[in-house]
Symmetry: none
Subunit: 208 residues, 4 copies
DNA sequence: CATGAATGAGGGTTCATTCAT
DNA sequence: AATGAATGAACCCTCATTCAT
């Protein structure tokens, strides 16, 4: 891919995440990417197709997770959950801007193409995690749980944290814009919390 | 408050939730509310102040929860958690449009006034739930948990479900626009899931 | 109708006639009419609807002709043809800009609405003239002629003259921009020519 | 001339006739001709020069008529008129797209070069026909007529018919896009009409 | 000789807001 | 108190053209 194209995508990602799709003008993007205004139409056709290209470009960021997990056939179900959490949290924090776009800005897009792409991403995530839970249940390690809502709790917790950055900066007394420190403090906490939460949830025998 | 004012606020809520703040024009709102275009500036000053008015108007929707809980001093900590979940899920589903605005559209607003309002709402929610957990811990009923992230899991789970309506319609095989059936099926499931999740999480002794 | 609206229509007529629809920008029109650019959308909705409004506004300019003719029931068929020519030539020269738009610019418009309006105008003209010819034939004054093509000759001759202004300025050695002199010289010539042409054409017995 | 050059001219003619000069973009032309966008500037210099090239390329289409007529010195003046009509109608219908461009799209072009070319074409047509009429008058076969306006009636009638295709399709009940049938029906009618019209007009003694 | 990449200018339209009434 | 008219700014997109390769 050409440098400019990638540069535009980067700028679009930053601005869409920060100001939303409707709140970002193609002038903003062109200005941020330091390219001519007409280049956006030239490369992508339209503002909406630019978004679609961005989604396609970044959507693979969670795709590799399940394959990484599949490699380790020796892991126990709980070890798999732990690894799943490690992988997901890392991936999402490494792609926090795109994750922000997907979770907060895509839902209002009215384009059917965008809606379809988003549904696919969510569905894929759901299926990936379901597989692991079902596997644990087959091995009699996990109890009976609501599969979809358990997934919702995992994803929802991560999303909640990433979308309320300002709040957690305040809670942890971290000065703004020191993102490195923020991540260093928060990520381990988040991983530990999710692992504990799921360990308790999945092992608990709800019928006793 | 005059009828027209309330009517405008209702329309704004519907449209902001559906299309976002930037995606909704004052013409849309005026058209939907069947009022003159100039009325919006006339009553509220500006589009942004209209949003602020809307937030102020609706923000109290969770305020009553903690007071309701405080009445029942006889409840056990787990019963309080259960009741908290019941109250939150009901409140959020009854105010799903405003909840959608708060969780997905407000975060991108650049106005400091709006940001402050939003932070207050989130902070208030956090504090409300923290109180109950701390109370349970004092009574040696709840184990040691990450307070803030436990709250994030509760709120995140609910938000995840409400913001992925389309996905859950598909999962539960409910025909679109039959919102009544959707709520009837999903709300009990969600409450049960959250109660189980928290019961396990809070009672589990993570140090053993 | 408001002054501004009429002013915009006038400017649009002048510019469309001179430069065509595609060759005229709404900025041109706004500048010529000395109104704000957004007024065009405000009053007419779009550039194309402005054209449609212009057509509707001016289309009646030939409508009155047949009624004027109908009043004089005493006229002979040839006198009616003569009067028809007088009326048409006068009307078209008095509305030369709009006539120019209809004959040279509307045919390429791709909008179905515009196409329909144009077809109606042409069809009306055709029917008006046909009535008179048929009446003359019934009275055994006119011979058998191809009705539609006879009308085409009348309209085509006038259009040819109006659309080749520059050529006829040269032929008659009239300095440019002296439109008054041009009309004074050309109109009588054109009327006489058409009357002679039709007198010969309609009275000639083509079967002998 | 290279194949590509000719191909571009063909595409330009088709599109200019259909959508006008301003309504056709060089992208349209490049796309229709299946050549690179930059080729058009490369070969012709600019869009306007492309039009000039097209005119030059096609303008000779009426030039041969007078020469063909000149060959037959044996013909009577009326036979010459008849032949003139046959030749003109055929030529115009065989070059209907270019004729359309000349009569409806060139008049609005503001370029002096284009205006000059167009004036030359019209002037040439005028002179060609004048010669024949003058010859007939010298031979005391034709009466006194307005030369220029007689030519205007000939050209105007043909143009009127070709520019109102849709109308005549409707009148003759011919299904759209069956151009072959349309031509087969209309051309003989038009020739006959014009011959009758001119025979009557030219032979009629307007002073008696 | 031919072309993909790039650009400045301008296209039509919609925006939130204001102002005279 | 309420509104139709009006506006300047900004929107996204396409234009004809150029230039390095």
């Amino acid at each position: 891919m050409s440098d400019k194209r990638a540069h535009i995508l980067d700028s679009a990602e930053i601005l869409f995440a920060e100001k939303g799709f409707d709140g970002t003008s193609v002038r903003d993007i062109a200005g941020h990417a330091n390219v001519n205004l007409a280049m956006i139409s030239y490369y992508f056709g339209s503002k909406e197709k630019l978004l679609a290209s961005l989604i396609e470009h970044r959507a693979g960021y969670t795709r590799g997770i399940i394959e990484e997990l599949a490699k380790d056939e020796s892991l126990t179900p709980f070890e798999k959950i732990d690894k799943l959490i490690d992988l997901y949290v890392d991936k999402i924090f490494n792609n926090s801007r795109f994750h922000c776009i997907v979770t907060t800005h895509l839902p209002t897009m009215q384009s059917d193409e965008i809606k379809g792409m988003m549904a696919d991403i969510k569905f894929m995530n759901l299926e990936q995690i379901k597989k692991i839970i079902i596997d644990g249940q087959k091995k009699k390690v996990f109890g009976k749980v609501d599969m979809e809502l358990t997934v919702a709790s995992i994803m929802g917790t991560i999303t909640q944290v990433t979308s309320s950055k300002a709040l957690y900066y305040r809670i942890f007394n971290i000065e703004k814009s020191n993102e490195e420190l923020y991540n260093k403090k928060l990520i381990p906490k988040l991983k530990t919390h999710l692992k504990q939460l799921l360990r308790a949830h999945l092992s608990f025998n709800h019928h006793e």
